[in-house]
Structures are given as structure tokens and as C-alpha cells.
Amino acid sequence: MSAHVPEDLLVAFVEGELDESLGIHIAEHLDGCPACATQVAALEPLAVAFASVDDPVLPIDLVDQVLAAASEQPAQAPVTEVTLGLGLLAAAAATFALFGDPVGSMIHLSMVLEAVAKMGTVANGTVATSVAATATAGATALACSWAAARATVPGWKHA
């Protein structure tokens, strides 16, 4: 769609009356056509009200604070690594609880701790697969509780 969009189509677009494929074509056109985008903005029924809203003003300059905080705080490990690490620890505890074998559990636990210490290399498969089966139960339980905790704002989720 290279030419400008006819006004009746833009009106229907603003009202949400077009089918999705045509609507997407028009949205893509608007992203690259300031003239049509301006026309759409004027058609929006609350355009005057939106234009009357002043921008909130940042009360303080945050540059120094942010730079200081960024240099103080180490970057956090990605959530997937932390979750996997917790899952592995839970699995070690579960192994001990289920089998009650102190020697076997110690072996598993030492593998787990080594895996957690080398968290960055977990994804490369250096952890023995024997841990993986026992990790599943713990990781699943943690994932379920984590998912439940995330679902407290209906319909609004992390991207």
C-alpha cells in the first residue's frame, strides 16, 4: 500500500471496523507515512483530550544516580539460570528425602553445588544428565508456584 489511504478507510480503521488483515496493512502503512498517521490522530475521538494532557515532568536528574547504581550493583543472573539453580537445589533435597541415602545424596548434592557454582556453563550441558531427572520434580514445583505468583494481574503479563 504505497499511496495514501482513503479517508473512509482511515475512519473505519480508527473505529476498529476493518478485518484484521486489512487493518494490519493500514497499520504498517501508517508506521511509514506521517501524512496518514497525522490524519488518523485527528480522527481519534479523544484527540483533543489527549492533546490537552501535559507531560509529567521528571522531578530530578537521574543520570548520576543511575550510573552510580549501575556500577555498584552487579548484573543479576537471568531468571532462567536462577530458577534452574533453585530447581537443582530442590532436587538434591528431594533426593535425600525420598531415598534417605546419605552417600548418594552427598554425591548428588556435590554435583548440584558444582553445577550452581558453574551456573554460566549449565546451558552448555556440562552438568551430568543424572541430575536432570531428579531436578525435574523440584523445578516443576518451583515453576508452578512462580507462575501462580506471576498471575496476579489478570491479562497483563511480562513480555
Binding site: P45, A49, F50, P56, L62, V66
Partner: protein, 185 residues
């Protein structure tokens, strides 16, 4: 500061900041602090929470610069971080007071004190506070931060069609809330 200012400079600044250049890190924070604050302030309706969320977002932006994919839109990526931080703040509020509304709404000036323009603005902002955050965020990004449909889709990690439909529904909900408050177009 609007985001199209200095757009040409951005790729080089990102690369320099990744390499640890202090000036470029400061440049990125300087450039994004106002848009991120505006977004957080409109999503959280509280100066203090918005300031905390802005600072956290910008610190995270610097920490995770290495993970930014240069084929993506940087604004979308930063607003995506801010959005996740706002979602976390809403969850925290709900945990703090589960029986109370999650929003903190400013008590504005009385209607007598308001001019027609500020009355409209006040009604619009109150109506925005009334609609669910998933609808509020698309309107804030589209109407106040002037992101394109494609950029919003990237920031929210949603297909274009979903963003479009969400904006339509959001406008409808906003209009209903606005009119219920006595707002005029």
C-alpha cells in the same frame, strides 16, 4: 526530550556504551530518563513509584546492554523493560493491600479550579486510571510516547494484529470511562 532527537547517533552510542564508555552510558540514561519516567508515571500514577521504576529500568538497561539485539528497536526494548517493572509494581501493590484497588490516584484540583483544557486532561487521566493496565499501556505508548504500531508490538512482544485490536478496545474502554466521568470531546 523526544526520542527522535539524536536517533542517528544511537547505534554508535550503544556500541560505545557496551565497551564501557562512560560518556555514552550517561548519554543513554540522559536520553531515556524522561520518556521512561513519563511512561512509568502514567502507568503507576505515583511520582515516587514512577521515580523508583525509572531508576530501576535505566540501571537494568545499562546492565543488559549486551543482550540487546541491534536488529530490534532500542526504544521498544527499553519500554519493554519499563513495562515489566511496572507490572512488578502493580503485583507488589496487590500483595500489600489485596482488598484495595491497585491504583494510586492523585487527588487533583477541584472542578471549579480547572479550566476547560485542564478539566479535559483531568478527566482523561482519571479515565486512563480506570481501564485495565493492559489497555492503558498501549494507549500511553501510542498517544503519549508516539510509538508506531510496529514498535509497540516489539515492546510488548505481541503480533501486530493483537496490538491493533488492543488499541481499538482500549480506545472504546477509555471513551466509555471518559464519558462516564462527564468528559466532553
Amino acid at each position: 526530550m523526544r526520542l527522535h532527537d539524536g536517533r542517528d547517533e544511537l547505534p554508535a552510542r550503544i556500541r560505545l556504551a557496551r565497551a564501557g564508555d562512560a560518556g555514552s552510558r550517561a548519554w543513554l540514561v540522559q536520553r531515556w530518563q524522561e520518556p521512561v519516567y513519563r511512561f512509568c508515571r502514567r502507568m503507576l500514577s505515583s511520582d515516587e513509584d514512577a521515580l523508583d521504576a525509572t531508576q530501576d529500568t535505566l540501571v537494568k538497561m545499562l546492565h543488559h546492554l549486551e543482550q540487546f539485539d541491534e536488529r530490534r528497536n532500542f526504544s521498544s526494548w527499553v519500554f519493554g523493560i519499563a513495562r515489566n517493572r511496572c507490572i512488578d509494581e502493580h503485583r507488589r501493590r496487590k500483595r500489600r493491600s489485596p482488598d484495595e484497588p491497585g491504583e494510586i490516584v492523585d487527588s487533583g484540583p477541584s472542578p471549579v479550579e480547572l479550566t476547560a483544557r485542564s478539566q479535559r486532561a483531568d478527566h482523561l487521566l482519571s479515565a486512563l486510571d480506570e481501564i485495565p493496565p493492559m489497555y492503558r499501556e498501549v494507549l500511553v505508548l501510542y498517544h503519549f510516547e508516539h510509538l508506531k504500531y510496529g514498535e509497540i508490538a516489539e515492546a510488548l512482544d505481541l503480533p501486530m494484529g493483537t496490538v491493533m485490536n488492543r488499541i481499538f478496545r482500549a480506545r472504546k474502554k477509555l471513551r466509555e470511562a471518559y464519558e462516564a466521568m462527564g468528559g466532553t470531546q
